[in-house]
C-alpha cells in the first residue's frame, strides 16, 4: 500500500513537471526565443520588421578549396610561370650557381618540399583556412602547410625554415603576405631553372578573389642572386564541391628513381 501511494505521488509530480515544460514551450513559441530553423529554411519574418542585414565579414573571404591544376593555368615548366617577359635577372653569383647546378643534388629527389615562389605554382589543389589571428595554406603537393600570422608577432632567429616566416594583413579586398627567414635552398627559386635562393629571400603575395577565382600576384627579391625583384600572377579555380586534398606521402625511392636515367653532370 505504501509503495502504491508513493508511485501515485511520483506520477502526479511527473505530470506536473511535464505540464510546466509544455507551457514553457508555448511561451517560447509566443516570441521570447525563436524556434530552431530547419537547414536551408528562412527564418519567419515578423510583421513590419525589416529583413535582417547580411552579415558583414571583418575580412575578405578567400577561404576554401582551390584548384591549381592545368585546368586553371599552364603547367609549370622551364617556361612557366617564368616567361621571357618576367624571367629573373640574375647577378653574377646567380649565374655562376645556375651554371654549376647539378639536377642530382636537388633536394626534391629526397622528398624535400618545394617552397615559395614554386609551391604556389605547382599544379595541385590548395586549401585556405582563415582564422582571426592566422591564415593557413595547405598544399596537396608535398603535404606542405604554411601559416600566415595576422597577430603582429615577429620572427626570431629560431624561425628560419624552408617555408620561411609569414606575416599578413588585409588591405581592401586582398590578403597581403610577407615572408622571409627562408633557409638557403639550392633550388629555392623553382623546380626547373637551377636558381638558388638565400636567407635574404623575401616573398610578397597578394591574394584576392575575382569572378569566383582566387588570384595571386607574387613578387620575390633576393639580393644575393637577383639584380631586381621578379614577379608573376596566377589563379586558382574553385574546386568541385566536396573535393578533399589527396595525401602526398612522398616516397623517397620513387622520388630519386629518375636520377639514374640522367647523364651525370659530375663524376
Amino acid at each position: 500500500m505504501k509503495s502504491q501511494g508513493m508511485r501515485r505521488t511520483f506520477g502526479l509530480l511527473a505530470f506536473a513537471a511535464l505540464l510546466t515544460m509544455t507551457r514553457g514551450v508555448g511561451a517560447r513559441q509566443a516570441g521570447q526565443t525563436p524556434p530552431p530553423i530547419a537547414p536551408g529554411a528562412k527564418p519567419p519574418a515578423s510583421p513590419g520588421a525589416k529583413p535582417p542585414a547580411e552579415p558583414v565579414s571583418r575580412f575578405p573571404d578567400i577561404a576554401g578549396m582551390w584548384n591549381g591544376t592545368p585546368r586553371a593555368r599552364p603547367m609549370n615548366s622551364e617556361n612557366f610561370p617564368w616567361t621571357k617577359s618576367n624571367y629573373p635577372v640574375l647577378n653574377e653569383r646567380g649565374l655562376a650557381y645556375q651554371k654549376a647546378f647539378d639536377e642530382a643534388v636537388a633536394p626534391k629527389y629526397d622528398c624535400v618540399p618545394s617552397s615559395s615562389p614554386a609551391i604556389q605554382y605547382d599544379p595541385y589543389f590548395m586549401q585556405v583556412v582563415q582564422w582571426p589571428d592566422r591564415v593557413v595554406f595547405r598544399y596537396e603537393k608535398d603535404d606542405a602547410m604554411r601559416t600566415v600570422w595576422l597577430d603582429g608577432r615577429k620572427p626570431t632567429v629560431q624561425d628560419y625554415s624552408l617555408q620561411g616566416f609569414s606575416v599578413g594583413r588585409y588591405e581592401g579586398n586582398a590578403l597581403i603576405v610577407d615572408t622571409d627567414h627562408f633557409l638557403f635552398d639550392i633550388t629555392g627559386f623553382d623546380d626547373y631553372n637551377g636558381i638558388p635562393s638565400s636567407t635574404l629571400k623575401k616573398v610578397t603575395e597578394k591574394y584576392w578573389k575575382e569572378n569566383g577565382e582566387l588570384r595571386l600576384t607574387l613578387t620575390l627579391e633576393d639580393p644575393l642572386f637577383l639584380r631586381q625583384p621578379a614577379s608573376y600572377t596566377t589563379r586558382w579555380l574553385a574546386a568541385a564541391p566536396g573535393y578533399q586534398l589527396e595525401p602526398w606521402e612522398c616516397d623517397p625511392e620513387s622520388s630519386r628513381a629518375p636520377i639514374k636515367m640522367m647523364i651525370p653532370k659530375y663524376k
Binding site: 603547367m75 615548366s77 605547382d122 623546380d191 626547373y192 620513387s254 629518375p258 639514374k260 640522367m262
Partner: protein, 136 residues
C-alpha cells in the same frame, strides 16, 4: 613471354600533342630525350603508384633476353584523379607503350607517355596538356 620488339624512332616529335600524365615535379629534359620516341611491347610486372612519380615496370623480350623497362608516370594524386589504379594495369597484362627514352647509357627508361594501350589495341590512358593562355 609474348613480348615482341623494341623500336626507337628518332625524329621530330609533336610536343604537347599527346603528353599523357603530367609530371610537374622536375623537368624531364635532363633525364629523357624529347627529340626521340621509343616504343616497347611487353608484360606489366608491377605498377607503383607513388608520389612524386609513379612507375610502371614492363618486362620486354629483347632478342631473347628479358629486360625490365621503367616507365615514369604522373604523381599518385594525378593518377587518382584520372581513375588509374593498380587494377588498371595488373601484372601480366600485355601492353604497348611509347614515350621519350631515357638519356643515360644502358638505361631502359621512358617518360612522357604518348600512347599506352593493351596488346589488343584497346586504350588505357591518353591525355593532352590543356592549352589555356597564361594569365598575366
Amino acid at each position: 613471354m609474348n613480348a615482341k620488339r623494341v623500336t626507337v624512332v628518332v625524329g621530330a616529335v609533336l610536343l604537347g600533342a599527346l603528353a599523357a600524365p603530367v609530371i610537374a615535379h622536375h623537368s624531364s629534359a635532363p633525364f629523357y630525350d624529347p627529340t626521340k620516341t621509343v616504343e616497347i611491347t611487353g608484360e606489366v610486372t608491377k605498377l607503383h603508384i607513388k608520389n612524386p612519380h609513379s612507375f610502371l615496370y614492363v618486362t620486354v623480350d629483347e632478342k631473347g633476353q628479358k629486360a625490365e623497362w621503367q616507365v615514369e608516370m604522373g604523381t599518385g594524386a594525378q593518377l587518382a584523379r584520372n581513375n588509374l589504379t593498380v587494377d588498371t594495369l595488373k601484372p601480366g597484362t600485355m601492353i604497348k607503350v611509347s614515350g621519350q627514352p631515357s638519356r643515360a647509357e644502358g638505361s631502359k627508361g621512358m617518360c612522357c607517355i604518348k600512347t599506352l594501350m593493351k596488346a589488343d589495341g584497346s586504350a588505357i590512358l591518353r591525355g593532352t596538356v590543356p592549352k589555356e593562355p597564361p594569365l598575366r
